[in-house]
Amino acid sequence: MYVPRGTRLRTAAAVAVAAALALSACTVGDGNVTKASGSGSAVTLTFLTFENPNLTSEYWDAAIARASAKVPGVTIKKLVGTNSTAYLQQLYASGQAPDIMTSISPDGFAQKGELAPWSADEMKNFIDPHAGAIKGQTYALSFNVQPIPLVYYNKDDFAKAGITTAPKTYAEFLDDCAKLKAAGIIPLEIGGGGKDTWAAAFGFGAIVSSDMLTKTPDWFSKRAAGTVKFSDPDFVAAAQKAADLSKKGYIDTAGLSRSYSDVEQAFRDKKAAMYPMGSWFSASLDKNKPSFDVGVFGWPSDAGQNVVPVVTGGGLMVNSKAKDVGLAKKWALAFAEDKANLDNSVLADGLIIGIKGYTPPANVGAMYTQTLDIYQKAQQSGQTVPAWMNTAGDGSLPPGFSDQLNAAIVDLITGRKSPQAFAAYLDQRYAAATR
């Protein structure tokens, strides 16, 4: 059948338009656009955020609007995704990398030249400008500090078991666990199954921090350099402690199938007396008070130190290929240093602010105050160590390794792997992750 030339062209054009429309649908999910005030030709920058019960859509919109008001000429397009390394890597690989992003480790991206470094002058207001540095350069604005983990405990359960004060040494901690168990109370709520397996790792993380990092704070830098191994005696001994806690029945192993929010709820439901968790839990406790009084302490070491593992960072990063790197940095700094933004992040997420001269708002809750107090005392007495599972920068864990570590910790807790086999497995996976 003969098809006239005009019909052919129209048909071909229609097909091309349909294909273009179909392909244009493949893009990252976007959100609101916050326009610059009074600017005729504003630069539009994308900002990757993530939402959770603490950091809601409204929280981000208000924070973005405040920062944008301080930086004329910028229009921010909010993207909502996740704050995971794998997700950001996908965005970079597919040419959809945002101009500004937050709460993601710069590891890997910085070494590849995909992030713009911050200068000393730009970070003059930050208490620890070198936190999370990679080969001397800082890529994430280190505007907050998070102790990960602290041990939150049910004061009523402690009283029922005849415990009057929080433990100072690991031996006291074990005694308290025995008393709680004798009183019919499971001592530790450790859990997080499926996608939330990360939450099950905090107890073991605290043991390693208190036993090893107090002696060798740069142990994980040495592991990266290959001068120490997981199968070395000190790491195996730490693993043995975690395995023993489970063997003695001090851990609520049902938690290993719970989601992160269900584990938190299990603590609120009095399924166990102690809950090792990050400082953000204080905000949750202040917002939604449980039916019992809660106390908090740092994980005790053998030597009697209540160690506080901390990560400083969590801040904004700027894409080195942003549409306007200078303007993006200016906006990111405005976002990170805005007093109202900082106050809101304290109230919403329990962040401890690392900006010079900052004072928390007067209406912070009691648990936040207790958490801040523990951190400040630990800092003054030199009892802070790196929160090795969460730190970024030199000596941090290689990409993809954390998930394998978390899964292996579950095997350690459930007794499927001996401490020696656990350590050997980690060495094997570390080699695979860094090959």
Binding site: K195, G400, A407, K417
Partner: protein, 330 residues
């Protein structure tokens, strides 16, 4: 000529049969002049090409090209966090078979696929036999069995996760019945894989029921009546009449279920994330994403993806050949 299948299209050469055989036919009216016929043939081919083009473009762009790229990538050490990429030949494939984690993943996938292929097939056929009757109640039951098939795997997984988690509905019922320590359906490393497989079976069951119902409704009633008159028992009627007649349905169900088993990802991601513990429910498809995306080992992940493709193609081809041969024999 729109809407006319290619094999029915009259051509100057004759009428093309459904399986490619060409029957001689009278030349169509108006095809006496060779130039006009040629122009018509060219126009028809062009129009078909235009209509096929969007589909072909999508298939080539989104399936074939990425597949070829993945095979190419699998011969490199490409890493999402390393600027330089080097050609490593078949090293990634060699590493796979000496990696105990991969062998565990392969074992999990084979177990899962075996369960997901056998259980819905057997149960689906049994339920289809029960539902192969007339009446609104049977129609309603068919719809009920088919509902899980149209639900997203993620939705199904989230629903089941809330039911079978340690504090979930199932264990609460068991505790209510006096079971002091009910199983950790998702937290016990010895059970979790079977829990995932059971949920996949539940979801795929409806598909098998519908396919077998269609097969059963194609069995001529006269044959069944003749067998009954000859004194064949219900079991003998099923073995001698029904079973051979539904052989194509068995082939379709088996191949679809096998492919579904090998591709299992959503359920694992939502319910167990490959755990509890090290790789106890990790499947080949899940491992591809963990290695290539989360771990940033794109070259190694591509090798795993390529091997999965080869495995699915080989097993599906073998199963199809075997089952088709069986259809002829029956």
């Amino acid at each position: 000529m729109q809407g006319v299948k290619n094999h029915d299209r009259p051509t100057a050469a004759g009428l093309r049969g459904p399986f490619g055989s060409v029957k001689r036919a009278r030349p169509p009216i108006g095809a006496s002049r060779p130039v006009a016929a040629k122009r018509r043939r060219e126009g028809g081919t062009y129009r078909f090409l235009v209509f096929a083009l969007p589909g072909m473009a999508v298939y080539v762009g989104l399936v074939l090209v990425p597949m070829v790229m993945a095979i190419g990538t699998s011969t490199t050490d490409r890493n999402g966090f390393r600027p330089a990429t080097h050609f490593v030949g078949l090293r990634n494939y060699g590493d796979l078979f000496s990696d105990p984690a991969y062998l565990l993943t392969l074992r999990n996938t084979l177990i899962l696929t075996a369960i997901v292929t056998i259980v819905p097939n057997v149960l689906g056929l049994a339920i289809a036999q029960l539902l192969d009757r007339r009446g609104w109640a049977f129609n309603a039951m068919r719809a009920v069995f088919f509902v899980p098939v149209v639900l997203s795997s993620v939705v199904v997984s989230v629903i089941w996760e809330t039911i079978i988690t340690d504090d979930g509905l199932l264990n609460r019922v068991l505790r209510g019945l006096g079971v002091a320590h009910p199983p950790g359906w998702l937290s016990d490393p010895g059970i979790a894989l079977y829990s995932v497989a059971s949920i996949m079976c539940w979801q795929m069951l409806g598909l098998c029921v519908v396919i077998y119902l269609a097969g059963l409704q194609g069995v001529p009633q006269e044959l069944m009546e003749a067998a009954a008159i000859d004194g064949a028992s219900p079991v003998a009627r099923f073995r001698a009449v029904t079973w051979p007649m539904i052989a194509p349905a068995v082939t379709i169900c088996t191949v679809l279920l096998m492919i579904g088993g090998f591709k299992a990802y959503d359920q694992v991601k939502v319910m167990t994330n490959g755990g509890p513990g090290i790789g106890t429910t990790t499947t080949l498809a899940f491992d591809v994403v963990v290695t290539g995306i989360d771990g940033a080992h794109i070259g190694y992940g591509a090798a795993k993806a390529t091997l999965l493709l080869v495995l699915i193609a080989a097993v599906s081809f073998a199963a199809l050949r075997l089952l088709r041969r069986r259809e002829v024999e029956l």
